[in-house]
Amino acid sequence: MAFSRRNFLKYAAMSAGGAVLADTPFISAEARAKAEGGNVKYVPTSCEMCFWKCGAVAKVVDGKVVKLEGNPFHPQSRGKLCARGQAGIGQLYDEDRLKHPMILDGPRGEGKYRKASWDEALTLVAEKMKAIAEKHGPEAIAMMSHGSPGDYFTNVLKAMGSRNIAFPSFAQCKGIRDVAWELTFGHKPGSSCERVDMENSRVIVLLGTHLGENMHNSQNQEFAEAVSRGAKIICVDPRYSTAASKSAFWLPIKPGTDTALLLAWINIVISEELYDKEYVEKYTVGFDEVKEAVAEYTPEWAAQETELPMRQIVEAVRELCRYAPNVVVHPGRHYSWYGNDTQRARAVAILNALLGTWGRKGGMWLPAKAKFASFNDGNPAYPEASKPPVIKGNFPFAGGEGVTQALRDTTINGKPYPIKAWLVAGTNLMKSLPDQRLTREAIDGLDFFVAIDLFPTETVMLADVILPECTYLERHDGLFKIKTREAGVAIRQPAVEPMYETKPAWWIGSELCKKLGLKEYAVKGDGMDAWEDRMRRQAEAWGVDFEQLSKHTGYVTIPDSEKPYITEDNPPVFGTFSEKIELYSEELEGEGFDPVPQYEPVEQPPKNMFRLIYGRSPVHTFSRTINTQWLWELHKENEVWLNKKEAERLGIKNGQYVVLENQDGIRCNRIKVKATERIRQDCVYMVHGFGHNAPRLSRANKSGADDQQLISKYIEDPITGGTGMRVNFVKIIKEA
């Protein structure tokens, strides 16, 4: 085994805190438990309170999880967990969990269910799915998912012959950005985590990325480190976020005009010859075309468009260039803002390229060099898709994760063929997709709807059959390939046995395969150990020590995989057609889109209305954690941020409850006003995920207001299908 040199150094650094307070060195979960004696057990595993997959260590006493700590070896957690990670125990022991399979006993939506055995529920699901596949074809069964359970049900659908599988993480989040960076660099900018070398950055530009509130563990550790080292933060955000409060430059931009700022910056970088000439020459194509295309985007023009002082625009970018290439314009994450978002992401990618940040210290590190042997445990290849899937809609660059609303549209209109059943696992579609009216219409028209989840959310409670998954602390998943600067492998394994009659998603998927007559796609073996046995075989195929992972460190490094910067013997590899960074995209041109981003103004709110923008709370993951005890206690309801002057003008006091009504006349639950200097006068802001309409979530139900309810309008990005969701306007109704 053992530890890589890197891990050893981490350990050495941790215990260097002084003799008196040398923290108990965490060398091995098993060794630590032995040292403490008694009924203590430490279980290394992976968190799923969000999707950053931090390494966690569960302390279990007498069969109960009593504490969760960050795994010091895991590069995503580095010994620490965020508030949500710490509160995972609250999810595990939440009384409101789904406890046993349930079958709808009345009209859909009324929430009347009867308890069922697993055998009865799974038999019913398999019969319904078979009947629909026979009548309409397997493509009539669609799936939407988020998080670990998706893998197991993707397997079921593919085995049946359907490829109608989509994840909201694409069109409602980061897919747009990924496509733009693939078009430019031939690589995504990394998922969890983004490949930003913030630890070493001299200047960091954040466009709407509110680190601190957007709580991704290791990324925030690096951000704090950068701030402490004196790195300059340039924060572009209509709201004075936590990140803005750490910044040297806060640019309170007019919402929807970020691309204007970026194009003017590109113009300044080129016209003042501040770009990395050697790098641009060596690694890029299309420089002259970009130069020509951005010439019209002057700082004067951008100042007018963005409502930022011209001096601030110019000074910020000069500061950025002064320290290039040890700087980064953060690629961002949630990107579905205005419906022209691919081009904004392209502008960010181009700016990074001109500054030469890709493969440079403090910029974007290069992907870890590691090859994992392919492993599918001897399962047969999937049958061909019965019919071409509809998950790409009419979007030429929609990615493999699929466009959720394209599935929804086909479900409603039956074109080009009917979709009659949904299998939804781990995602609350009513809160993740824009325009809840359409989501509800699609569900109401289904012949069959099965939900697999932890909690009785508003979406789950519309299903015909509900299958209760156990939490991440009660199940195996993975093994996970972890790609940070180095490559590694992490494990998720149960700290305790599943509570109630809940089951791991792998088991549910596998049993479903058997009931569908697709046993060859099921997990080999019958018992509850079957998946763990499969993980052992996978570890062997990958050349990883399973005992080390499961009993000791929970994470192992792939040796020599870390080569973050460009050197003579580590040249960058760009996966584009030209094998260079494509500043000018012939691929986009070929489909009729602007090969260099051009500015398109977005619609502005009418008089007396505000643009609705939304974001995150550091203690919540979307709508998933609102009901979790300690997190709910800390942040029970969201507030609507309203500029203080606007509040005074409207005669609204700080802390007063109001109702918001959007352009379609839709009203949300009452919500408290935060009258603040921290936001522009033309927009209001609220944290996403609150305002559940789910009576069985005893704490979260009706707590705060639901931004997604007010997002009844969305504009699709024509390149990727991303749903621009910051295009809704609200007025404030005082009598709540």
Partner: protein
């Protein structure tokens, strides 16, 4: 004997509340009670604003009013300089709560005694740092022994300007606030 103190680098705090939840779990703090909190204090007018991220907890004062006012001796100093509560001696009279200028104590309603941050005394005995420090995502909370000149806290306080809360009330707090450490750029 050590003399424990905490240094809080406010520039590193990102307001993520990991410390708050870690503390709640580690110490079984009852619902709606907290032993530590993080305040985000914003001043100025749009668009010229400043923020102070301020983590607050028991200051383990050298000259602790809660100790001098406690009628039963429940609130007391230990040899390591920390202020602790002997739960058996506490009668829940709330004198300490009213005397504390930092508003960091509460009554455990189920058991009737006063409670507050102990610097995770039980963890210190095992050689571990307090739970809030161990999980501090921004690396804002730094803990150690002021009697050890080589400890991180001693070194920081020698090098970097610092302040305490409500110095004027003369309680001799042991929570020190700094901004930007280490400042290397």
């Amino acid at each position: 004997m050590p003399r424990y103190a905490m240094v809080i680098d406010q520039s590193r705090c990102i307001g993520c509340m990991a410390c708050v939840v870690a503390c709640k779990r580690e110490n079984d703090v009852p619902p709606e009670n907290y032993r530590t909190r993080v305040l985000e204090i914003v001043q100025g007018t749009y668009p010229t604003l400043t923020t102070e991220m301020r983590s607050e907890l028991c200051n383990h004062c050298d000259n602790a009013p809660c100790v001098s006012i406690c009628p039963t001796g429940a609130s007391h100093h230990e040899e390591d300089g920390t202020v602790q509560i002997d739960r058996k001696k506490c009668v829940g009279c709330k004198a300490c709560i009213t005397s504390c200028p930092y508003n960091v104590r509460y009554i455990n309603e189920e058991h009737g005694y006063a409670d507050k941050c102990s610097f995770c005394q039980h963890r210190l005995r095992e050689g571990k740092k307090p739970a809030c420090v161990a999980t501090c995502v921004g690396g804002s909370r730094i803990f150690g022994d002021l009697d050890d000149p080589e400890s991180e806290v001693s070194k920081i306080l020698r090098r970097v300007g610092h302040r305490v809360l409500k110095k004027e009330v003369g309680t001799g707090p042991n929570i020190y606030y700094i901004n930007q450490y280490p400042k290397r750029a």
